[in-house]
Amino acid sequence: MTLDAAEPLAIDPLLDDPGTRIIVCCGSGGVGKTTTAAALGVRAAERGRKVVVLTIDPARRLAQSMGIDSLDNTPRRVKDVEGDGELHAMMLDMKRTFDEIVEAHADPDRAKAILSNPFYQSLSAGFAGTQEYMAMEKLGQLRARDEWDLIVVDTPPSRSALDFLDAPKRLGSFLDGKFIKLLMAPAKMGGRAGMKFLNVGMSMMTGTLGKLLGGPFLHDVQTFVAAMDTMFGGFRTRADATYRLLQAPGTAFLVVAAPERDALREAAYFVERLAADDMPLAGLVLNRVHGSAASRLSAERALAAAESLEEPPDPADASAENPAENLDDRRIVDQEAGKAGDRGSSDSSPHAVASDAHASNADVSHAHASDADAAGARAGIDPDQVGSDQVGPDREVPDQESVERLTAGLLRLHAERMQVLAREQRTRDRFTALHPEVPVAEVAALPGDVHDLAGLRTIGDRLAAGGPPAGAA
């Protein structure tokens, strides 16, 4: 390790502090933002707080794990949360949120006119910025209701992580900006000094836009604008209010990333942007970090040892007749499944040769293997409890050679793991070098996805433990 490890991010004090009212999880796509938000919500609730989690676009099973797979834009209490706190969760319906704003701020006739306007319908169904705007709008609403001590909010899967800071402002300033006012009433501007050239530009512009988009489109926009007239001031005001809320001391931003180059580059960018906008950053959550309890064995030594075990004493022994054929066949099935797209012959794994030898065999067994074996895997394997009862009488006892092969496999697997560790370390070091001031919580990788409360609790535990998994530092 070439640099001092970043200060660990203490999650529990953040969650327990009654002064923490909003936690915003942001980061690039695919880094586990939503899962992190949900895990923080569960943990905070089980530590006694009354929490609401606002998710934007959760994966179906994650939503199901919190019982919010129905989309009704209202927080629902999550069952089976332990302790004194409460967890509520909701999934954002941006169109519904937009409709609600219109309904709340316009009289029924006008609201009806707006809601049925084709331009409004396209706008509210999700154009650049609408989702971000509505997420912030919903956050503002939840905060204003003051029913929860803590709001955990996930951010939309934007083009870039910055969109959600910019888009509300952008949409707000459009909806109540100069351009739309011009569209509505160019005449109003005519009298002002210095506006003449604008007016020329204006007629040219409406003319051009009319030509470009077609008269009916502009008409739709103008009707929309006219109908929204009374609400315009509101949009900018609300966008500004939400923006200030994000800067307030009760808010904490968590930048979420995975230990990959692109995700951490985006995270660094976001850290800089938050600082520029005076947004309070609590720290970086680094998901899916790998560790190894055997890290003192280096990749190079593990590979060398594996190779020494794989040198066949007598080539004849490597034939398909060997007594460990049971093991072989199952392994080969994996290998074949893995090669469904033919990854080519450069595969350096020790079984590549064996799998070629069994190619025809594996094709036959491929079809039934997945069902039979999946059940075994779900049962979970605790290496400390792997007992002899699992070797049935029909399974031949592996001989010396199979132990060697198994050991070689364990070593190769370890070498692969150590290479992953080294790569993750490099990307993390790059981030730490750029931003040594940012506290980091590392979350050890899970083999599978999370889809229940127990899984979210596990993530929460790992978040709170914060430090690198064994061997990763």
Partner: protein, 320 residues
């Protein structure tokens, strides 16, 4: 192969990398490909370790075997100004429009206009001819928005066509849609063998099919070799742990007694992952689409890794 190759995928699956590798793989035997990005992230420039691109097509790589890869970061605002200039000779008035926020309005807020401009530029490159009358680019590869938005992005022309019922944007949208829905286009989805990306892929394919957009391949990225499986781990019974320890010692590993448990734990995790991957493969298999698998580049993705992926894609038959 279709001449417009659209590459989408869930965030984090490496769609930009796959798009770039595909552009390299397709630039075979003197062919020219254009790699376009539409989200303003300059991901291609970062991948090729060059400065951010201005709004112009420039050569960024020579493919193995001599073909050329050009790249373009399409910018909706610039595309609109170009477009206005081309059709209306606006000149300075374009700047006035910009000052008023009209260009921002058209490219950011006006429903779908932005997407028409982005896809329109890509389609223009697909149809462009050179002086000899051949195509300027043999293939155009688009690093497209992620799976969750791809159908809306490509199909938005329909939406615009509904909104802008007449006029050049309308006509443009119609023309673009004809290319996008034709066999000239193939939309590929990049995924990992993990539950969420696979679920998004399954949903994404259903949406593309619903919109009658031409689905291409499912590209499974970062496939790790299976070194050991569950059965092998199960083979290590209680008293064989000692034998494993002995074997480790014999192979020159010191302190092997303490290593057996962590090594077996890693093997158990690996076995669990192998099983999860098998389930995800089965789910992808149900889609009935051709699948490519690309290996995980263990050293992390860099230019060398990119060329390796391109070579893998050629082995799989890309550009034949």
């Amino acid at each position: 192969m279709s001449r417009l190759q659209v590459v989408s995928g869930k965030g984090g699956t490496g769609k930009t990398t796959v798009a770039a590798a595909l552009a390299l793989a397709l630039a075979k035997e003197g062919r020219r490909t254009l790699l376009v990005e539409v989200e303003g992230r300059q991901g291609i420039a970062q991948l090729f370790e060059t400065e951010a691109f201005p709004y112009e097509e420039r050569k960024i790589a020579v493919a193995p075997g001599g073909g050329e890869v050009y790249a373009l970061a399409i910018d909706a605002e610039r595309a609109l100004l170009d477009y206005l200039q081309m059709f209306y000779k606006l000149g300075g008035a374009g700047r006035a429009l910009k000052k008023l926020g009209a260009i921002d309005f058209a490219t950011t807020i006006a429903p779908g206009v932005r997407d028409v401009l982005l896809t329109g530029k890509a389609c223009e490159a697909v149809r462009r001819k050179n002086k000899q009358g051949g195509y300027a680019y043999d293939y155009v590869v688009m690093d497209a928005p992620p799976t969750g938005r791809i159908t809306r992005f490509l199909n938005v022309n329909d939406e615009v066509a509904g909104l802008a019922k007449i006029g050049p944007i309308h006509n443009q949208a119609q023309a673009v849609m004809r290319v996008l829905k034709s066999p000239e286009t193939a939309v590929h989805l990049v995924t990992l063998l993990e539950e969420m990306p696979v679920q998004e892929t399954v949903d994404g394919i259903a949406e593309l099919r619903g919109a009658e957009l031409p689905t291409g391949k499912v590209i499974v990225n970062m496939v790790r070799p299976h070194v050991l499986d569950e059965a092998a781990v199960r083979g290590v019974t209680g008293d064989r742990r000692k034998e494993v320890a002995k074997t480790l010692t014999r192979a020159g590993v010191t302190g092997s007694a303490k290593l057996v448990t962590p090594l077996l734990e890693q093997a158990a995790e690996h076995a669990e992952r192998v099983e999860l991957e098998r389930e995800q493969r089965a789910a992808l298999g149900q889609l009935g689409l051709p699948t490519y698998e690309l290996p995980l580049i263990g050293e992390g993705m860099d230019l060398a890794g990119l060329y390796r992926l391109a070579t893998e894609l050629r082995k799989l038959g890309v550009g034949e």
